[in-house]
């Protein structure tokens, strides 16, 4: 503990900008030296994709080499550069602090995105993992609105996602792709990427309308009973799609154009975080918490509880629909089996692991479960023993998840960190 605290105090004066710069250096090192020199001399077959976990689990003899690689490429440069550049990053952060918050946030995000883009660009598999993780972040935040902020136990999220995925896919396929099901493209394919946001939003709106089937029963019941109703909704959507041969039935639907490259997904994710954050910190969004904690008291305090519940479900479902649409256009193939109980387990694991009632928690949950899931892939079946075990441990020590009931404070996060004078 003592060491950890010392470590923390050494790096306490590094602003976010410094960390991004550190990661940037690491990515540059990996990009230019990773394959030709570092992995070559360490005897690794290629650049380790996800910090070498895959290689380590496949061949334990490689463990020292992988650890060496991670130290040389990631750990040492990140911490060293972050610490050494404080003389430069702190004043820059201080200048940015004086600009409006949104400008400073956008500058940080652009910088962060370029680093992420370079890191992901080294390998196709890595890029796919990053894309799916970003989509998972949207999903987790959206279910957190219903299960965390609103406090219902809704199991219908894969259903909402499926509605969004299918509606947006149908729209893009119908308008911009010549295929067997929908015939020739109606509009020139060049318009496709510009039209894509509308297709996504249409999918989201369809999902929001579908969510009314769960929201209206929630006026009269909650807890276990609503969980059963929402589970039923998920299966209804799945069976409905399976039996609709027009859209491929159980065989699924493929051939979606690849309209969802990394930057588009990143923008949607940030938009989702921004809008949900605005909502849950406003009084309108706090009403969700009030209804969750005491419905009768909320009514007496002029809160429209029915409207609030409907808002929570429709808003959550809308973002689930957006996530579904992005998902469909990343994989360019969907089938009803993807939106079933397995997906539900994954989404619930992410939200309860990360933390209820918190956007930061959702991000942490989505990233850790996704990366863990990919990293432990070589273990195959054992993966599904290790991840649930971790979940159980989290539930024992932190019943509301890792980071719960905490909101992002962008101003605090992005401030410069000059060393504070400490009294003796």
């Amino acid at each position: 503990m003592e060491i950890a605290r010392k470590f923390k105090s050494i790096f306490s004066d590094v602003p976010i900008l410094g960390w991004i710069l550190g990661i940037f250096t690491a990515v540059i090192i990996e990009y230019y030296l990773g394959y030709d020199y570092i992995s070559y001399y360490l005897g690794l077959p290629k650049i380790p994709v996800l910090f070498g976990t895959l290689v380590m689990l496949k061949d334990p003899m490689m463990i020292p080499a992988v650890i060496g690689y991670d130290l040389i490429v990631y750990v040492v440069p990140i911490f060293l550069i972050a610490k050494l550049t404080t003389f430069f990053t702190n004043p820059v952060a201080a200048i940015l602090e004086k600009t409006p918050l949104w400008l400073s946030a956008i500058i940080h995000l652009i910088f962060f995105y370029s680093v992420l883009h370079m890191w992901a660009g080294i390998n196709d598999y890595r890029e796919l993992v990053v894309k799916l993780t970003l989509i998972s972040i949207i999903l987790t935040i959206s279910i957190n609105v219903i299960n965390g902020y609103q406090g219902e136990f809704s199991c219908s999220h894969p259903g909402f996602m499926a509605i969004g995925a299918y509606i947006s896919s149908i729209l893009t396929l119908y308008f911009f792709v010549s295929d067997k099901t929908f015939g020739a493209a109606v509009l020139p394919p060049a318009f496709g990427p510009w039209f894509f946001p509308f297709a996504l939003v249409a999918g989201g709106i369809a999902a929001a309308l579908g969510s009314l089937l769960v929201a209206i029963p929630s006026f009269r019941t909650r807890g276990d009973y609503l969980a059963i109703i929402s589970l039923a909704f998920m299966f209804i959507v799945k069976s409905a799609v399976e039996n609709l041969n027009v859209i491929g039935g159980a065989r699924g639907m493929g051939g979606q154009p690849d309209y969802a490259p990394l930057p588009i997904i990143f923008i949607w994710t940030m938009l989702c975080i921004w809008i949900v954050h605005n909502f849950v910190t406003s009084i309108m969004g706090k009403a969700l918490n009030a209804v969750r904690d005491d419905e009768a008291a909320s009514e007496s305090m002029t809160v429209k509880t029915r409207k609030t519940k409907m808002t929570a479900f429709m808003f959550g479902a809308f973002w689930a629909g957006i996530a579904g649409g992005l998902f469909a256009h990343v994989l360019t193939y969907i089938n009803p089996g993807m939106f079933s109980i397995n997906r539900l387990a994954e989404i619930l694991a992410m939200v309860y692991f990360g933390g209820l009632n918190s956007i930061v928690g959702s991000i942490v949950g989505a990233v850790s479960i996704n990366v863990l899931g990919e990293a432990l892939r070589p273990l195959e079946l054992y993966k599904w023993i290790i991840i649930p075990l971790i979940l159980i441990l989290v539930m024992i020590f932190r019943p509301y998840g890792l980071i719960s009931f905490k909101e992002i404070n962008a101003k605090r996060l992005l401030r410069s960190r000059h060393k504070r004078e400490q009294g003796a």
Partner: protein, 257 residues
């Protein structure tokens, strides 16, 4: 009729059980009215009927000559009936400041879209609400607890939060359901002061349920006594204190033989 709140011949059945029978009430502006009665007399039911939690089977309820019977609780609350609860009903994961902010819900007009995109209108209204909330916190002497989660506060402070929250809805009449339940006599004296202060500062009428005679006699200008859902006596405190029927209901019949 110039009464602020008028309840006329209100009767309510729970299934076959007659909980309230022919209940009448007139509250004038600025009046403090007390409702007393033994346990199970139906006092809280009357509160719930007027505030819209239940809809009465018969009778009429008007607030400033407008019918409020059959409206939803939140609509009635927004029209000017603030209330507190017998068992403190605070939102357990929320901090004190958010409680007060939340109670301004009906006074906001920026709508959902405004809250999604944090529009200037939304920011402006939220700032105003925040200022007003701090003012209320100060008035009820809970400003030092603003960032704390309510469940960590001492009992007396929780009661004050509940009251501040009710005042944030901008009520014309404040309904207090046993405001001194579980309080020590010191806290009781403090509560009397707070209620007096609210009464004077906000110019509201107050309607309260209470068991402690001392409290009721000291505060109220008008007292009603309820037994088994029916009013048995009504009038100024001195009359009630000496009314044989009230004494009988509370202490039992004097055996003279």
């Amino acid at each position: 009729m110039s009464a602020l709140l008028n309840v006329n011949k209100m009767t309510h059945y729970f299934g076959g059980l007659r909980a309230v029978h022919n209940y009448n009430l007139n509250i004038e502006p600025l009046q403090i009215t007390g409702l007393i009665g033994p346990n199970g007399a139906g006092k809280t039911t009357i509160f719930n009927l007027i505030t819209g939690v239940y809809t009465p089977t018969h009778g009429s309820i008007t607030l400033e000559n407008e019918n409020i019977k059959g409206l939803e609780t939140n609509e009635i609350a927004a029209m000017g009936l603030g209330r507190t609860f017998q068992n403190i009903a605070l939102w357990r994961h929320m901090n004190v400041l958010d409680h007060i902010r939340m109670a301004h819900y009906s006074q906001l007009s920026y709508g959902l879209i405004g809250s999604f995109f944090n529009t200037p209108k939304c920011r402006q209204q939220e700032t105003k609400v925040k200022e007003n909330s701090y003012r209320l916190l100060e008035l009820f002497d809970i400003k030092q607890h603003a960032d704390q989660i309510v469940t960590n506060l001492p009992y007396g402070a929780q009661r004050r939060v509940e009251m501040a929250r009710a005042m944030a809805t901008n009520p014309k009449i404040l309904f207090l359901d046993e405001p001194t339940a579980g309080m020590t006599s010191d806290e009781l004296v403090q509560m009397i002061k707070i209620i007096r202060k609210v009464h004077e500062d906000f110019k509201v009428a107050i309607f309260l349920i209470e068991h402690r005679m001392k409290f009721v006699m000291e505060l109220c200008q008008h007292i009603q006594t309820l037994v088994f859902g029916e009013l048995i006596a009504e009038g100024p405190p001195e009359d009630i204190q000496n009314n044989p029927q009230v004494i009988e209901a509370y202490l039992g019949k004097e055996d003279l033989t």
